[in-house]
């Protein structure tokens, strides 16, 4: 990996963390790489109420594209600031800050496509991390993204809910349409977008709060705090964790095993009822048994949600996904097809070489 790329990778993670407040609590700060920022956040004296004290709150400095949304009122403020009206609490179309979820659609898209990109390119400064990429992600299916390190797969994933927005020097060209609406349009609130398109990360990162509060957090910041107990139970059941934790909902999420923590994070991601769940190597830190449970869960989630999962584990992609996209070095989407086709008879020789291990 080139030094620049390595640097950018690091930067992106840091910025992702800094984006936390605009991201309704899917991230936590229990990873050591986040510590410096936690410190600065504490020093900044952000909203440190309750057990979220160690969650970085400094996104008040991030005023360019993602408004601070540590709370629902902040989110509402952000929407007001755009002059596009306020988001009704009961509105299901929370992607954007107005009622333009589909009204703003500019093009046709196949009925089953929920996300489609057209010549989507991402640059980090001068370096092009993602070459013009055009692909259609089907609704309520599992789409896997595989490829070697530095191939742009995580960049692509993070582009979907604009997690790359706050990376200095990051520039996005082309279109990324969610239900036909370009999420990079000016009238799209990235915070609202991330409620609709949730994310689960490689390392399980529950808050240092109770199991129940971990799941309820996303609901509370959205003022969706009616029937919280019921919604928490529902999310934990959907995350296949309920039976294991139902008698200890008030104990810390950090006391759970790694696999349980990751399912707790998935429960937290689905509690606000998103439409799409992005997963960045969700099982790479888990043992085989926990991995199997997460894989089973992903398959079940696809009945209700669209799942896009980045994985280094090709067999995992083969096991759980309906469609597989193969990115190769240089940020190029080389092949995107039914998973069976990719793993039995890929069209591109480079894909064949990569998945059979002849690459590199």
């Amino acid at each position: 990996m080139q030094p620049v790329t390595a640097l950018l990778e690091g930067v992106s993670y840091v910025v992702v963390v800094r984006d936390l407040c605009s991201y309704i609590g899917i991230l936590s700060a229990n990873s050591s790489v986040f510590r410096p920022i936690e410190t600065s956040a504490a020093q900044a004296g952000g909203d440190a109420a309750g057990a979220v004290a160690d969650v970085p709150q400094q996104t008040t400095t991030m005023t360019d594209t993602a408004p601070p949304t540590a709370s629902a009122s902040d989110a509402a403020d952000a929407q007001d600031a755009t002059g596009e009206g306020t988001m009704d609490e009961g509105t299901e179309d929370a992607l954007i800050d107005t009622d333009v979820s589909t009204d703003g659609a500019t093009g046709e898209f196949p009925a089953e496509t929920v996300i489609d990109t057209r010549d989507l390119s991402v640059y980090y400064g001068e370096e092009q991390a993602l070459k013009p990429t055009t692909m259609e992600i089907p609704e309520r299916r599992v789409t896997a993204i595989i490829g070697p390190s530095g191939c742009g797969k995580s960049t692509f994933l993070r582009s979907i809910n604009r997690m790359n927005d706050l990376i200095d020097g990051c520039r996005v060209e082309g279109e990324l349409n969610f239900r036909g609406k370009n999420v990079y349009d000016d009238d799209v609130d990235p915070v609202a977008l991330r409620r609709t398109i949730g994310m689960v990360f490689q390392k399980p990162n529950p808050f240092p709060k109770s199991i129940k509060e971990n799941v309820a957090y996303g609901l509370r910041v959205q003022d969706k705090d009616d029937n919280v107990d019921e919604k928490v139970e529902q999310a934990l059941k959907r995350a296949a964790l309920w039976d294991e934790v139902k008698d200890q909902l008030d104990s810390s999420g950090l006391d759970l095993s790694g696999g349980q923590q990751q399912r707790l994070c998935i429960a937290r991601a689905i509690a606000p009822d998103p439409e799409v769940i992005l997963m960045d190597e969700p099982a790479s830190a888990l043992d085989p048994v926990a991995t199997s449970k997460v894989e089973d869960l992903i398959t079940e989630l696809a009945e209700d949600y669209t799942v896009v999962v980045v994985t280094h584990n090709m067999q995992q992609a083969a096991r759980i996904s309906d469609r597989t996209a193969v990115f190769l070095t240089g940020g190029e989407l080389v092949e995107f097809d039914d998973t069976q086709q990719i793993f039995e008879n890929p069209a591109d020789d480079r894909v064949e070489d990569y998945i059979t291990g002849k690459f590199g």
Binding site: M314, A318, E344, N345, I355, T356, G360
Partner: protein
């Protein structure tokens, strides 16, 4: 190239399948030769040597299972291993048919039906097996399709040969007053000859199976698999 050990195992499997086919072809030629010359020693060698082919078959089957279980092959590698798994079964069956031919050698009566040229049919099916294994080794899909088409000719040849025998049997009109030993001998000769024709025809079928799996292996095309 990455995964050297894995690549070596794939190369070994390919070599072993080809080695098995050479062994089977040798037995097939010997079986046909034993039949032609009524050579009982050669016939015995073929029959007793079948266990060697069977053991090789089991070993290669295990190699395929090991590769599937331990290496998680995909794409072209997966098709190669899956095809090899099927092809060794066909080769093992051809080996069994070679022992059948050897088994017929002892009592075979060639002269009763001079119009039925077992050796010619045998040479043609052996050529089919040779060609199909060459197609496998060279990943020659055109040859696979040609071999499949050639099997129609073999089938027609075998059908004509069978009809020749049966027609003669009918025309001979052996009455119930015929000598019972004569009837018994005739029955055995006819049965044996029909079985020989059937076995050779089946060798051709196995050659087509191998061609079909080779086509799938190379192009992921199941056109010839049925």
């Amino acid at each position: 190239m990455a995964r050297k050990d894995y690549q070596q195992k794939l190369d070994d499997l390919r070599d072993d399948v080809l080695y098995m086919s050479e062994l089977v072809l040798e037995r097939l030629r010997d079986g046909l030769d034993a039949l032609d010359r009524k050579n009982e020693d050669l016939a015995r060698d073929v029959i007793e040597g079948d266990h060697e082919i069977n053991q090789l078959y089991l070993d290669l089957e295990q190699d395929c299972i090991d590769l599937l279980a331990l290496q998680q092959p995909v794409a072209g590698d997966l098709r190669f291993i899956a095809s090899s798994f099927k092809i060794i079964t066909d080769l093992e069956r051809i080996g069994d048919l070679a022992t059948n031919l050897a088994g017929y050698a002892e009592d075979a009566e060639q002269d009763r039906y001079p119009d039925v040229d077992i050796q010619s049919i045998g040479d043609q099916v052996i050529q089919m097996v040779e060609d199909t294994m060459t197609a496998f080794a060279e990943e020659d899909v055109d040859a696979c399709r040609e071999i499949s088409a050639r099997d129609d000719d073999i089938d027609a040849l075998c059908e004509r040969a069978s009809q020749t025998v049966v027609r003669d049997l009918i025309e001979r009109e052996v009455g119930t007053d015929a000598d019972s030993d004569e009837i018994e001998t005739l029955l055995q000769d006819v049965s044996r000859l029909l079985l020989t024709i059937r076995d050779l025809e089946r060798v051709g079928d196995h050659a087509v199976n191998i061609a079909a799996r080779t086509l799938y292996m190379v192009e992921s095309d199941d056109e010839l698999i049925y």
